[in-house]
């Protein structure tokens, strides 16, 4: 029997405000490595990519995340997510 080819899981990321500025793009599609299960895992991987990500997530506790337009916590599972967003605490209103 042949093994099914491992399909790289891709997800769209969007960034806002100073998170966007530090990373340098407003959106991108990435393929996190196998084992990237949660928002925290994803952040850990992103920080290894370059110093822009490292600066953006310098203080991980302050950056907020959303999956498919819903606020989530770092332990939220990203499986099946279409769009994941990272942004600073909100200052609207």
């Amino acid at each position: 029997m042949t093994q099914a080819p491992t399909q790289a899981r891709t997800v769209k990321l969007v960034y806002f405000a100073w998170v966007r500025e530090r990373i340098g793009v407003s959106e991108e599609t990435v393929a996190p490595p196998a084992g990237t299960e949660t928002i925290a895992d994803l952040v850990r991987w992103l920080k290894t990519r370059d110093e822009g990500y490292e600066a953006a997530f310098e203080n991980e506790a302050i950056v907020r995340a959303a999956i498919d337009h819903h606020h989530v916590k770092p332990d939220a599972v990203i499986t099946g997510a279409r769009e994941i967003a990272f942004f600073p605490p909100m200052t609207g209103g």
């Binding site: 405000a17 959303a66 967003a85 942004f87 605490p89 909100m90 200052t91 609207g92």
Partner: protein, 153 residues
Amino acid sequence: MAMTPIIRIQREDFDLSAEIAALTAGRSDIGAVVSFAGLCRDEGGRLKALELEHYPGMAEAEIARVAEEAARRWPLSGLVAVHRHGLVAPGEQIVLVIAASAHRRAAFEAAEFLMDYLKTRAPFWKREHLVDGTTGGWVEAKAEDDAAAQRWD
């Protein structure tokens, strides 16, 4: 819930009277209309404009969720939330919330609830443009805004 909240994210200014008229037109069961308009301050003459960035799609969705929560908590006849994005000059309007109800307490509480949650949950970010021509920093979130929102938990 017969009441459908009106939620808009827009670049243009809004007209408070027109929004209230749309909410109350032809009705005689509304006893109280509370409105909140948030205006851009010049911060003692330092500020030329505020730039408002938002997360399209999520901004509308999140405000809609907060509005639905308000409608569950209070007997409301109508609810409006309008938030601008882009550049806003001092003195201009940024955000509008209107809550209508048979009685004043529900209207006051729902409007304040909506504003408190909108401040801390709606994906908007403000950046300062200064009178001296430079772009200032991103406005920092205030602990007092989180505290205000937590009052309703």
